[in-house]
């Protein structure tokens, strides 16, 4: 076995939950984390008490707990996706400008976002398809992308049409420049930065097979 293929860690591509479990495992204990709407929300299902992670929601809370159910539902306690949630002991509330100062000021360790495309140098496109007639809506996407120390993206590697979402340069309107540090996909984990794209591990394919799918030069990441 060559060293180039030894980074395959799963015989099959990863499903959404397995990917969420992997992201959760990679979050350092004690981190302050913002999980974006959609697939990234799944990560919270796999965070352990021992990790002692504090979740931030940009509408104005640290210490967010799981989704509220039944009698726990309170219209004044929602997350950024407007879903009723719960508060954990030690939670705090603050207004919107403070909440985005937490983000923009670099106080969050990690945010996890979905994406349409990520470029070889970590540019992110995740807010707007640019389609004519589409009503643009950005929310906190640009703030999240520029604020956290690390920006993780979770997405399928390929579009429904089979095109790679990791691209040389984004064709969709940008959310942020050079902001993405890591991309978790069903077929592999990619580390992005000014030096290009390194692959940490692959799922259900070899690095060579992955390279066939991605129009960006890939290399194996140095062992951590």
């Amino acid at each position: 076995m060559s060293t180039a293929t030894s980074i395959q860690t799963s015989a099959t591509p990863l499903g959404r939950d397995d990917l969420a479990r992997l992201v959760a495992k990679d979050i350092a204990p004690g981190s302050f984390v913002n999980l974006g709407i959609g697939q990234p929300t799944l990560v919270s299902n796999y965070l352990t008490d021992e990790q002692n992670i504090t979740l931030h929601t940009e509408n104005g809370m640290l210490g967010m707990g799981p989704a509220a159910e039944g009698d726990q539902i309170d219209g004044d306690l929602i997350n950024a996706g407007k879903i009723p949630v719960t508060e954990l002991p030690g939670a705090s509330y603050f207004h919107h400008a403070d909440s985005f100062a937490i983000m923009r000021g670099g106080h969050l360790d990690i945010c996890v976002l979905g994406a349409f495309q990520v470029s070889a140098t970590g540019d992110l496109a995740n807010w707007h398809t640019g389609a004519p007639g589409a009503i643009p809506a950005v929310g906190g996407a640009m703030d999240l992308a520029t604020g956290a120390k690390d920006v993780f993206v979770m997405m399928t590697l390929l579009t429904r049409e089979g095109a790679s979402k990791i691209v040389e340069s984004c064709t969709y309107p940008l959310t942020g420049i050079g902001c993405v540090t890591r991309v978790y996909t069903d077929k592999g984990v990619f580390l992005t930065g000014p030096d290009g794209v390194a692959v940490r591990e692959t799922f259900g394919c070899t690095l060579e097979e992955l390279q066939e799918l991605v129009p960006v030069q890939l290399k194996a990441a140095p062992a951590a």
Binding site: T57, E58, N59, G60, M61, D71, I73, D74, G75, D76, L77, I78, N79, K82, I83, P84, E87, Y93, F94, H95, H96, A97, S99, F100, A101, M103, R104, H128, G133, A134, I135, P136, A137, V138, G139, G140, A141, M142, D143, T146, G147, P173, L174, T175, G176, I177
Partner: protein, 233 residues
Amino acid sequence: MLTFVDSVQEAVSGIKDGYTVMIGGFGNAGQPFELIDALLDCGAKDLTVVNNNAGQGDQGLALLIKEGRVGKMICSFPRQSDSWHFDTRYKAGEIELELVPQGNLAERIRAAGAGIGGFFTPTGYGTMLAEGKETRIIDGRGQVFETPIHADVALIKALKADGKGNLVYRKTARNFGPIMAAAARHTIVQVSEIVPTGGLDPENVVTPGIYVNTVVRVPAGAGSTAGTEEKVA
């Protein structure tokens, strides 16, 4: 000057055509629904409205838009599954949209209240939302110049006010309330409860009464988002 009024109609009676109106709330949390309904009834038009969204369903801000009272929306996220009244007006070219990243929206509102003439922020740098704006490299990072958003009136919702207009909020319903209260020339607050002066612990006051002009009590439960009475599907 601080006044306490008996009705939401009286509270909004000074709002005139052409005003810029900030409306608090994120989703339903913190939305001053009764004040918005009163604004609808008072007939003011050609309004510029500042809110995170552009109305949902068939209530509140969505109805103001439906009735053609809003000439311009300044917001971060106008497109939602139930924002059909905005969608219709926007696609007909009948409403102007200034789209602002959510954190820039909040900071521009905060800047207005704090007397700041503008600020540079990395948010949006290199994107289409920064087109035409002044940029600089600061500390090695591209940044965009953003200007304050002032308003004639703010409509917000808080949990309690005391006799001095000091406010406390409830959970994530706080959202835009404190910064909009400071940014508007005239701030109108609906609260669930009015307590006597001295009834709020000064250490816990979130919005000092200096930012508040008009207070009206709308009892919890009378409204559509009162505390735990709200059941979200």
